[in-house]
Each structure stands twice: as C-alpha cells, then as structure tokens.
C-alpha cells in the first residue's frame, strides 16, 4: 500500500457521520487518510486547549481527565509517551478490535500526544496478537519512532507501574516508587501512559476539535466509547461484540442486541469487567451509560465491558468464579493481596455453594475489608468492588444460599445438585 503526499487543503476532511472510531472500511493508511484526512498543523498549546474543551477522559478504566494528565507530563518534560493496549482484562476485546480496525488512529494519537508533551520517544505496549497488525501499520508510515513491545498475558500487566517496569526490561509487575510515573517513569523521564482508545479519540480531537468531540455524549461523559458486550449465558471465552457507543445511551439499548434475549429476561449486568460493578436488572435498564447515569448504582463504565446475566443463572456462582480467577492473578508481591484474595475467593465460593450459613457472609465481608487499599496497584481494590456489588445486587440470593437454596433454581435443594 502506497500513499501520495497531501497538501493541507487536500488533507482536510469533514468529521465522519455515524461511527467515529470505526468509520474507515479497512485498516490501511490510504483508507484512513481518505476517511479522516490529515492532522492540521497547529501548536501543542492549541492541541492541548482542544483536549481540554473536549472533556476526554481515559478509556482504560480509571477515567482520569486526559488534558490534566497531558499537562502534568508536559510540566515534567522531557517526556515519553506509551500507548497501553495490554488489555489484561480477559473479558475486554475493545483495544484489540480497535487496533485491528483502526491502527492508524492510535498511531496518530501517539504522535499528537508526543507533540503536546514534546516527547521524542514513544512505545506501543500491546497484547501479543495485535503486535503484527501494528507493525504492519507502522511500516506504512514515517515520522515519530514508535517501539512496539508485547505485553505478557496477565491481568495486572497493564497497570501503569507494571508497564513502566516492563518497558525498562523488568518484569511486568506493579511497582512501589517514591515518584509518580508522570514525574519519573520510563528511563527516569516523565511518562504518559494512555490507553490506545484514549489516543484514538485524541487523534479525532486533533482533527475536528473539542467542541465537535463533545457534541456527542452527555455533559459529564463526552464523545463515544468502545464497549465489549458479551452474549447472554455463554462462557466468557466466547467472542463478544465490540461496539462504539455514544455516552448517555440507555443500558437497555446496548443489551437489546445481546444474543437475541430480551433485556427483561436478564437479572443483572456486570459493567466495567472483572473489577467492575453488578447492576440490578430490570431496575437499571434505563440508566444512561455515563458517569452521572451509573453513579446512583455505585458503578462506572471502566473499560466498557458488559457481561449480562440471565435470570436462570446464579450471579453468586459467576462472581465466585471471577473472584477465583482474580485471586490466581495476584502478582503475589503484596501480602494482603497474596494471602487475602485467595481467602476472599474461598469464602465467597463457600457462600455461593450454599455451604455456610450467616457466618459465611460475615467472613466474606471481613476478608473484603482486609484487601481494600492494601496493595501497590488497584487489583485488591477492584476485586473488593466486584464482591461488594455482588453482595448488594444479589442480596436476596445471598439469603437463600445461606439456607442452601438458589434463586436461579427455586425449589431445587442446592446441596443435592452439587
């Protein structure tokens, strides 16, 4: 694939109608430029101003305002830019799908971030299976040197301090440091770690401006986001769908497309992935997918993962299996996480199996409190959030399980099934 040089006049394009990130019909550079045009030649300060106006927040899960992060890193220059596509969350597919369909938007975003922060070096830290796709895209373009690094397939490999450690040639494990990575990260330099989707959105803001960006979505959650929506009642390994969703869309509309099951037949949905929050259904069906819309449920969009649960399935059982996975994914560096997560998972599994009475719930609550805020990364906190939301949303089922029964199998003696 070859490209012809464009003059600025030829390079300008109208913003895409409909999907923004998924507007191009193939991943090649010529199509990318044909769809989006080139990035206008404006100053770093002007670019940053547009990001501020856009209200863009990080799409990796934490939702931190991107302009503030860019500003801090710029103030601590010289800087390094890292595109984070580790996507260690096994239920998430959106970063891989974005890199498959629009790698040049992500690479553009890296260049825009480097321009704003004055970075002369950049990394793309990616799930191994997308590395060849990104290398292919890089071969089509010139400009900033971007080093591609494969991230190990672990849950915590994408935590910011783990990314910095991995890029320095160390293990991809969260690290304790006196300094924040935006002060001192890769090679001792201020480091901007941004999720790949955040960078792709940045590439659009650099072209069409902050006002355009915020013209979709809600005042507190601007623009679109990528959602990984799982089919109902399938094993979590089944290929989920990745959709570009406008912030503020009611949850009902996203769930309507899941495996042909009407949303009314669902009892809950896990929003935000394994570190996410269960939302009760049908109560939350009309909740807008935005910060303000999910706040009443103590939830956030996280990295946009949605796992619906049918009425005929047991939410405690699914939560127990996720908790077991999360316990196994502890990096085993921090004592309360190393010992606390297995204990928590075990206590929760006993509760879900209907093997314990009232004391089982107390044990779960106690072990949840013992992991919160007691680690070098967010893994224990995220696990605690999942557990607390399960106890809240499946409260009736917790009571039934204490008596050896289960809401999903009313009338069946649980002990007899197992």
């Amino acid at each position: 694939m070859t490209t012809t040089a464009m003059t600025p006049a030829q390079g300008l394009r109208m913003p895409p109608q409909g999907p923004r990130l998924f507007a191009a019909r193939d991943p090649f550079l010529a199509t990318h430029l044909d769809t989006y045009g080139t990035i206008p030649d404006v100053t770093p300060a002007q670019l940053l101003e547009q990001v501020r106006i856009s209200g863009l927040t990080g799409r990796g899960g934490a939702g931190f305002p991107t302009a503030a992060k860019l500003e801090t890193v710029t103030a601590n220059a010289p800087a390094v830019v890292v595109a984070n596509g580790a996507e260690g969350e096994p239920a998430s597919r959106k970063d891989a799908e974005l890199l498959r369909r629009a790698p040049h938007l992500v690479l553009d975003g890296i260049e825009v971030a480097a321009r704003i922060t004055g970075a002369g070096e950049a990394f793309a830290y990616l799930r191994p299976e997308v590395v060849p796709l990104v290398r292919q895209a890089l071969a089509e373009r010139s400009g900033l040197r971007i080093t591609v690094v494969a991230a190990p397939d672990t849950f915590v490999s994408g935590q910011e301090t783990a990314v910095v450690s991995a890029l320095a040639g160390g293990p991809a494990l969260p690290r304790f440091s006196r300094h924040r990575i935006f002060q001192r990260g890769v090679g001792g330099r201020a480091t901007l770690v941004q999720n790949v989707e955040t960078l792709a959105q940045l590439a659009l803001i650099a072209r069409y401006g902050g006002v355009w960006f915020a013209s979709a979505g809600t005042p507190d959650s601007t623009g679109t986001f990528l959602a990984t929506v799982h089919p109902v009642g399938q094993a979590l390994t089944t290929a989920p769908a990745v959709w570009e969703v406008t912030h503020g869309l009611p949850l009902r509309q996203v769930l309507a497309g899941t495996a042909g099951r009407p949303p009314e037949e669902l009892q809950a949905v896990l929003v935000g992935g394994y570190h996410g929050t269960w939302l009760p259904l049908p109560a939350a069906l009309d909740a807008p997918l935005s910060r303000a819309g999910l706040e009443p449920y103590g939830a956030g969009l996280g990295a946009g993962v949605m796992i619906p649960l049918a009425k005929s399935a047991c939410g405690l059982e699914l939560t127990a299996s996720i908790a077991g996975y999360l316990a196994r994914e502890s990096a085993k560096q921090c004592g309360p996480c190393q010992f606390g997560l297995p204990e928590l998972a075990q206590n929760f599994a006993a509760l879900a199996a209907g093997q314990v009475g009232r004391s089982g719930l107390d044990a779960v609550r106690r072990s949840t409190g013992l992991v919160e805020g007691r680690g070098v990364c967010r893994h224990p906190d995220g696990t605690a959030r999942l557990i607390r939301s399960a106890l809240r949303v499946f409260g009736d089922d917790v009571l039934l399980h204490q008596h050896g029964r289960c809401l999903a199998r009313i009338g069946e003696p649980y002990g007899g099934v197992l």
Partner: protein, 74 residues
C-alpha cells in the same frame, strides 16, 4: 499537620514492629501485616510523628515512608 504513613506492600513482610511502635494507629491482621485502625490512608498527627519516624527507621524490610503531604490520584 497530619502526614501519611505509606506502606510499601511489596516489601512489607509483616514482622509487626510498626504496630508495636504505633499502637494508636496500627494493629496487625491475622497474617501479621499492619492494619490501619481507621479506614483509608494512615494519617500521622503531629504528636505521633516521633514514634512514626522510629517505625520508619526500624522497619526490618524498609517498607515504611513518612510523606510530607497527601497523595494525589494514582
């Protein structure tokens, strides 16, 4: 002024000296790791700064740090 006492959880081995030196603020969980008596960050008031500094100095794993100000978002 209160200062946060920061635990490097990757270094802490739960020997318990800190809980011994700062019983007003810390206890030990059942594995021996320091546990804040109140929720959230461990905040050291002025009158406990002496014992807190001693805990930082004496920690066998060098896992404690007394910061000057509250941590920002991580």
């Amino acid at each position: 002024m209160t200062r946060p006492l920061v635990v490097d959880w990757t270094a802490c081995r739960g020997r318990g000296l800190c809980a011994d030196l700062l019983p007003e603020l810390l206890t030990q969980d059942h594995w021996g790791f320091p546990e804040n008596r109140s929720r959230g960050p461990i905040l050291v008031p002025d009158e406990l700064e002496g014992p807190a500094r001693r805990a930082v100095r004496m920690c066998p794993a060098l896992a404690l740090r007394l910061d000057a100000e509250l941590p920002g978002p991580r």
